[in-house]
Amino acid sequence: MKVYINGIGNISPQETWDNTKFLKEVVSSDDNRLLCVEPVYKEYISPIKLRRMSKIIKRGIASALIALKDANVENPGAIITGTGWGCWADTEKFLLTMIEQGEEQLTPTAFMQSTHNTVSGQIAISIKCHNYNSTYAHRGVSFERSLQDGMMLCLEGNKNVLVGGFDECTDNFFTMLGRVGAWKKKTINSLDLFNDSQEGSIGGEASIAFIIDSNKTDNSYASIDAMTTFYKPDSDEQVNEKVNEFLSSYNLSPSDIDVVVSGNNGDSKSDAIYNVVLQEFPEATHTGFKHLCGQFDTSTAFGTWLAAKMLKTQSIPSVVKLNDVNKVPSKVLVVNHQNKENYSLQLLSKC
């Protein structure tokens, strides 16, 4: 099922939408939440259309257009997005107005844009793409489901498939998830995420699009050789068994992996499992990324972006390193889980 990443558009809390940059300057925050650094949207979307769009729709369209331009593709073979909570700003706008105004004098715009597939639909409208279009909303593997479908489509013969993940962290969303223990109680600097022993993580958001295809191009970042997911493993040992099974099914052993991109989010309730996995890769450079983008349902997409950029540039920015091993990236394993329920593994190679 091997595919190549031929274009990327990444709007995140770092200045990643500029593909010429790679974490030279790092943005941090002190309020347990990392919010997107935005490009100038007028460069991508006409003002008459922009006026109606919430941030996530602008980000979704702009990240898609950046990725398409990067890959030199006009019309993708499919548009598939993943999102945990969808267009939350529009959803809660309609919801709160409905509650506050007692179901009176409501307007349709926020409602019609509240559906999770608004972004995939609006990308299609903005480039007039009539091809396959889908949106997955499956918690911590929403992005992985879109990637997996995209890889299947490439195998079915579709060209230049756009896959992506997006989520947004509005003020109320941050408050709400905080009430069920998603975030740390005391504020920390985001760059200290991996050294903090509190329960909970920090909030984050991004919109990240990839153009994938069965064929390599001059702009290819890396190949995605394989991916898999698994659900609620019985034990930590079973997680390692799954990782080993995954690698050995591609005739690889842990020593073949140069870099592990690990989804540590600083939550003392659930981060230990990453150490269990990383111990199996003593010869690899260990890297983390959620101190740069925060925790959200589709944050794995940032991990995929990091892996692809490292493979293309053949470099590992010091800000992502978790150990002192220095490897030249050739094979990268991305490991992620959310609340020890949904796990995913991705294998990427230099191309």
């Binding site: 945990g84 919801l95 509650i99 409501l106 019609m112 999770h116 279009n133 408050t175 009430r179 069920v180």
Partner: protein, 401 residues
Amino acid sequence: MSTRVFVTGLGTISSIGNNVEESYQSLVNSKKGIAPMTRLDSKHKVNRPIAEVNLTNEELANFVNVKTLEGCSRTSLLGIVAAREAAVDAGIINELSSERIGLISATTVGGMGETELHYRNFIDENGQGAHLDYINSHDCGESTQRIADELGMKGYQNTINTACSSSANAILLGSRLIKHGILDKVIVGGTDALCKFTVNGFNTLMILSDKDTTPFSAHRKGLNLGEGAGFVVIESEESAKAKKIYSEVTGYANGCEAFHQTASSPEGDGAYQVMTEALTFAGLKSGDIDYINAHGTATEINDLSEGTAIQRVFGDNVPKVSSTKSFTGHTLGASGGIEAVFSNLAIDRKTIFPNLSFEEQMPELNFKPQTDVIQDVEITNVLSNAFGFGGNNSAVIFSKV
């Protein structure tokens, strides 16, 4: 990639029945589930009839043996009922822990029905207010995960939200996962509970009818919202051997009309695209279709656009067409699943279900929907349409084996 995909189990709950048999009886007896609101406490009670499932959350929970109701959405409960019925029907209820069995469920609003009651608590900055367990049951994926957990499933799970075409897309994706050899069996469909959020949302678009919905009628006034869940079990050829087979999933297509966020083009280009692609995929000619279970929401735009597209595909030989939303209301993310169950029942029970409440023929169309039930009729191929916001269109063809 040559594997065939068969439907081996059906399950549904909606305003016209708590299971497949009750639903079938309602369908053949022209008994619709549309009535004034009773369970939902909305201001629009007086003039917006809807199609509610006639069970409280407590009754639903007892029915499927869910122990803790707090933190379990009505969407999940409806989904558990229908997914379980489909799994029992397919004889796979005792093997669901296999990693070769998947669950793909669609929903448009997940736990919104509970969120809208407690949202002020959820966002209280002083940490006041109760029912916080419903925060974790809001997102769409939770309902799928909950169904999987209640049924003891461990394999592939996914949640689709492409608005009203969601559960048709679950059937597409499930079929492709089987053809790729990733899964042997998948429970596919969708679930959505009624909530004030969707009632008010569709009301702002001015497409909710103040009387019983009249699909494909000249003076139609829009849709009635409904709730429910519908799932079918699909299996690979190998896995379905020696089982009762309802139909084969022979054709499907999805596309984006890329015309407007909520409206389809009057020419029905998007609907035309997916219907013709599904026919080509199935290797069928338009004349091979015996029955179309239409999307048929009875909005001015949908029925014109879908009707025109049907006319363009089928010319002067439009097969029997009906919108069973005239029974169940529009169940949004569940509609493609419920209508897949009905499409399979049409083949299995040799029945064409009527389009209730039809009034006057649309002047733009050369056909009228089927208004009476037809029984003892051989049905070989059924086309089921599902169209959603974002211009997301899907068509699925089920064929008698």
